[in-house]
C-alpha cells in the first residue's frame, strides 16, 4: 500500500475524506485485502480511542477556580508579582542572597559608624570611638584618653597621655571654680611645667607618659585643649553628668 492510500483511508475513518476521493477509496478497499485489513485495524484503534474518550469523568474544579480568581481579583497586583520566578535559577538565588547580605552589612556598617556610641569628637582629627564617658585621640606621636566619672557633686576626669613630642595641655574653667590642686598628677612623669596660670586657664607642657586627674565642683564644664606647635590637636569639653563636644 502506498502512503497516500493509507492517508486517504485515515481521512475516511476521520470523516474528512474529500467527496472527490470517496469513490477512489471505496475502490481500493474493494480490490485490496491489505487495504481492507489496514482499514479494519485502524478503525478498531479509532473506535477504541473514541470509546475511551466517551467514558464520563468526574471532575468539578469550577468552585475552586472561582474561589481562586475571586481572591486574586481583589488583589490584582499580587498575580503580577512572581517572586518565585526570580529564584528559578539557583545562581540567581545565591546572587540575591549575597546581594541582600551585602546590603544589610553595608547598612549596619553605615549605621554603626555614623552613630558611634561615644561622644562625637568634633573637629578632632584622629579621634577614635570609645565607650560612653571615655574620649580618645590618637596620631602617630600622641595618644590621649580622657575617662570621665560623675558623682552627685563632682566631675572627675582621668587623663592619660602618651606623647613622643612635647605637647601643651590647656584646661579652662570659665566659672573660676577649678583650683590648681584640683589637677592632680598621678604618674611619676609629672608635668614638665605649668607655664601659665591665669584666672581661667591652666597650661601644662607634657612629654612622655603622663596621667593626671581633675576633680571639680564645676557644673558648667571644663574645656581641655591639647596643642602642639600652636595647632590644636584635640579639644574637649567635659561636663558633669553629660558631655558636650
Amino acid at each position: 500500500m502506498k502512503k497516500k492510500e493509507k492517508i486517504l483511508i485515515q481521512q475516511k475513518i476521520d470523516g474528512v475524506l474529500p467527496p472527490a476521493d470517496e469513490k477512489r477509496v471505496d475502490e481500493i478497499l474493494k480490490k485490496s485485502g491489505k487495504a481492507r485489513a489496514y482499514f479494519e485495524k485502524l478503525a478498531r484503534v479509532d473506535k477504541a480511542l473514541k470509546n475511551d474518550a466517551e467514558k464520563p469523568l468526574e471532575v468539578d474544579v469550577a468552585n475552586r477556580v472561582m474561589k481562586t480568581i475571586t481572591k486574586k481579583n481583589h488583589q490584582p497586583s499580587i498575580s503580577k508579582i512572581k517572586p518565585i520566578r526570580l529564584y528559578e535559577n539557583r545562581f540567581l538565588k545565591y546572587a540575591a542572597v549575597l546581594f541582600f547580605g551585602l546590603l544589610l552589612g553595608a547598612t549596619a556598617g553605615w549605621f554603626i559608624f555614623s552613630n558611634p556610641q561615644t561622644g562625637n569628637t568634633g573637629n578632632m582629627a584622629g579621634t577614635i570611638a570609645t565607650p560612653p564617658g571615655e574620649h580618645a585621640f590618637s596620631d602617630e606621636l600622641t595618644s590621649i584618653k580622657i575617662q570621665q566619672f560623675n558623682t552627685s557633686e563632682y566631675l572627675v576626669a582621668l587623663v592619660t597621655i602618651e606623647t613622643k613630642k612635647e605637647l601643651n595641655c590647656e584646661i579652662t574653667d570659665n566659672l573660676h571654680v577649678l583650683m590648681p590642686n584640683d589637677i592632680i598628677p598621678l604618674s611619676t612623669n609629672r608635668f614638665l611645667a605649668q607655664t601659665t596660670n591665669n584666672e581661667r586657664t591652666y597650661r601644662y607642657t607634657i612629654i612622655g607618659p603622663t596621667v593626671f586627674q581633675i576633680i571639680t565642683e564645676n557644673n558648667n564644664g571644663l574645656d581641655i585643649k591639647f596643642i602642639r606647635n600652636s595647632q590644636i590637636l584635640a579639644h574637649k569639653k567635659i561636663k558633669r553628668k553629660e558631655t558636650n563636644f
Binding site: 474528512v16 477504541a48 474518550a53 469523568l57 480568581i69
Partner: protein, 178 residues
C-alpha cells in the same frame, strides 16, 4: 463559539462570575486531555484547576479571532507537558507507573487498559495530536491552531502517531481479542 466570546467580553468588563460558565463548559474535556497526557488522575485535577486560573489571569491576552477552547487547550497541553517534564526528572520514562485513573474498572477491560498504557508511553508529539483528536474532539485545523503547526504537519503527525499506536497495540496482541 460566539457565546464564549460574549462571556469573555462580559468578564473583561467586570463580571467575574461569568467565568464559571466557561469553566463548567470546558472542565471535562480539559481534564480529559490533561489526564491522557499525564496519566495521573489526581494531579490532572490540580492541573486542570491551574489551567483555568492561568487562562483567567491572561484573559486579556486572548485573541478573539481564535476559538476559546483552542486557547484553553493550548494552555492545557503546555501545562501537561511541563508536568511531564518535571516528573521525568524523578522517574525515567521506562519506569513510569501504570496508569491509575480513578474511573478505571473491570468493565473497561484489558483492551482499554492496554490502550491507555500504550498511549501513555508514546512520544509526546504523537500523543499530543492523538489526545487532541480523540479526547478533545478537535479537528485538524483546531489541532494546528493549538499546537501552532501547519495543518499538513498535524495530519502527518497524526498519521505517524496512529501508525505507531496500531503497531504497539498489535505487538500487545490487542487485535487478537477483538
Amino acid at each position: 463559539m460566539d457565546e464564549d466570546r460574549k462571556i469573555i467580553a462580559r468578564i473583561i468588563n467586570g463580571s467575574v462570575d461569568q467565568y464559571r460558565k466557561l469553566v463548567e463548559k470546558y472542565q471535562q474535556p480539559v481534564y480529559r486531555v490533561i489526564l491522557k497526557m499525564t496519566g495521573d488522575a489526581e494531579n490532572a485535577k490540580e492541573l486542570t484547576q491551574d489551567v483555568f486560573v492561568r487562562a483567567y489571569e491572561s484573559l486579556e491576552q486572548y485573541n478573539p479571532e481564535y476559538k476559546f477552547f483552542s486557547w484553553v487547550y493550548r494552555i492545557a497541553i503546555n501545562t501537561a507537558l511541563a508536568f511531564i517534564k518535571r516528573q521525568k526528572r524523578f522517574v525515567h520514562a521506562e519506569h513510569l507507573p501504570e496508569i491509575a485513573e480513578e474511573n478505571f474498572n473491570e468493565h473497561d477491560g484489558e483492551r482499554m487498559q492496554i490502550i491507555k498504557q500504550t498511549l501513555q508511553k508514546m512520544p509526546v508529539n504523537y500523543k499530543t495530536v492523538i489526545v487532541l483528536k480523540y479526547y478533545a474532539g478537535c479537528s485538524y485545523a483546531d489541532i494546528a491552531t493549538i499546537t501552532g503547526e501547519e495543518e499538513k504537519k498535524v495530519k502527518s503527525r497524526l498519521f505517524d502517531g496512529r501508525k505507531l499506536l496500531k503497531k504497539q497495540l498489535l505487538e500487545k496482541g490487542l487485535f487478537n481479542n477483538f
